[in-house]
C-alpha cells in the first residue's frame, strides 16, 4: 500500500493527529501521551511570563530535543488585530511560522468569530505565515478561508472542551467535499467514536487536547485516539457500504436446505 502522507504549507506529514499541550496532569504524562499519539504537530498558546515566579513554566522545556512541528494558537484574542499581534509574537520565537488563528468573542461558548477570523487570516497570509484558522463548521465560510490563502481549514466539531462530538456531520462532510486544502476537525471531539466518524467523513486530520489530557488515563487515550484516526482513515479510503432499509442475507437465498 502506498504511504498515506499529506501536506500543509509544503511540509509532509504522516500522522493525522495534532495534539494540544494544555491540561495534562503532569509533564511526564504529557510527554508519554504525545509519544503514544504519534503526533508530529503540537499546539501551544502564548501567554505573559509570570514574573512573580522564578520557576520556568515554559512548555518548551518538556518537549525539547524532539522533532516536532509547532502550531502556536492565538487564543485570548477576540479581534483580528489581537490575533495578528499574538501571531507576530509567536513567530518571533523563531520556532515556527505556522499559526492557528483562534478568535473567540463569547466567553461561555468560546465559539470562533467568523468575520474576525477571516480578517486575521487575510492579514497573516499576506505576512507570510502558514495560517490554519479554527472556525465554525460553515461550508461557505471554510471556502472563503481557503480562498484567503489558509494552508488548512479547521472547523470545530463542537465548542472547545465540550466533548460533544460532531454536532453537524452533514456540514463537515460538505466542507471536505468542497475543499482543496486539508480540513482538520478542531475542538469538541470526545471519544474514539467521534474521531473515527470525523476520519470517515474524509477530513485530513483532527486536533485534540482535552479528550486526551483529561481522560482518566491520558497515555492510554492518546493511543486509542491514534488507532481511531488510523482506523477511520482506512475506512474512508476503503469505502463503507451504503445504508439500506432492509436486510440482505450474507449467503444468498437461492440454495436454502430447508425448502
Amino acid at each position: 500500500m502506498k504511504k498515506d502522507v499529506w501536506h500543509i504549507g509544503g511540509h509532509e506529514l504522516t500522522s493525522r493527529f495534532f495534539i494540544g499541550t494544555g491540561l495534562f496532569p503532569s509533564p511526564y504524562v504529557q510527554k508519554e501521551a504525545i509519544r503514544e499519539s504519534g503526533a508530529e504537530v503540537l499546539t501551544f498558546a502564548i501567554r505573559r511570563i509570570n514574573l512573580a515566579s522564578t520557576e520556568d513554566d515554559s512548555i518548551l522545556q518538556h518537549v525539547e530535543g524532539e522533532s516536532f512541528r509547532f502550531l502556536p494558537n492565538t487564543s485570548g484574542a477576540s479581534t483580528a488585530e489581537e490575533a495578528v499581534r499574538i501571531a507576530r509574537l509567536a513567530r518571533a520565537s523563531g520556532l515556527s511560522d505556522w499559526i492557528k488563528v483562534e478568535i473567540s468573542a463569547n466567553e461561555r461558548t468560546l465559539l470562533p468569530d467568523p468575520l474576525e477570523t477571516l480578517k486575521a487570516t487575510e492579514i497573516l497570509v499576506k505576512e507570510g505565515f502558514t495560517v490554519l484558522p479554527y472556525t465554525s463548521d460553515d461550508p461557505i465560510l471554510c471556502k472563503r478561508l481557503e480562498e484567503a490563502g489558509a494552508a488548512a481549514v479547521m472547523p470545530g466539531a463542537a465548542p472547545i472542551g465540550t466533548g460533544l462530538g460532531i454536532l453537524n456531520p452533514y456540514n463537515i462532510g460538505l466542507i471536505v467535499e468542497e475543499a482543496k486544502v486539508p480540513i482538520i476537525v478542531d475542538a469538541g471531539l470526545g471519544s474514539v467514536a467521534d474521531v473515527a466518524q470525523a476520519m470517515e467523513l474524509g477530513v485530513s486530520g483532527v486536533l485534540m487536547n482535552t479528550p486526551v489530557a483529561k481522560a482518566k488515563d491520558p497515555v492510554g487515550m492518546a493511543r486509542a485516539m491514534r488507532l481511531a484516526i488510523e482506523s477511520g482513515r482506512l475506512s474512508y479510503l476503503s469505502g463503507r457500504i451504503s445504508k439500506k432499509r432492509y436486510a440482505s442475507a450474507s449467503s444468498g437465498q437461492e440454495q436454502f436446505i430447508v425448502k
Binding site: G20, G22, Q30, F44, I49, L51, I59, S75, A92, M208
Partner: protein, 65 residues
C-alpha cells in the same frame, strides 16, 4: 525607572531590554519581547534602550490546544 512590564508598573534599574531580561532572571529562557508595541528580537536586546513608562511584554509558549 518605572516600566509597565506585563501590565504591571515595576520600578527597576534598567537601561536596555537586556537589563530587563536580566532583572527578572530570564536569561537563556525562551522569551519573546514586545516593547512599545514593537517586537524586539534577541539580537536587539543589548542595543534597545528602554524609556520611562514604556510598555514591555515578556511572553512565552504555554500548554494549549
Amino acid at each position: 525607572m518605572q516600566l509597565i512590564v506585563n501590565g504591571e508598573a515595576k520600578e527597576l534599574e534598567a537601561r536596555t531590554i537586556q537589563d530587563v531580561i536580566n532583572h527578572f532572571g530570564l536569561e537563556g529562557r525562551p522569551v519573546v519581547v514586545e516593547a512599545g508595541g514593537e517586537i524586539i528580537t534577541k539580537d536587539q536586546w543589548l542595543d534597545m534602550e528602554v524609556r520611562p513608562l514604556m510598555k514591555i511584554e515578556l511572553v512565552h509558549f504555554v500548554g494549549g490546544g
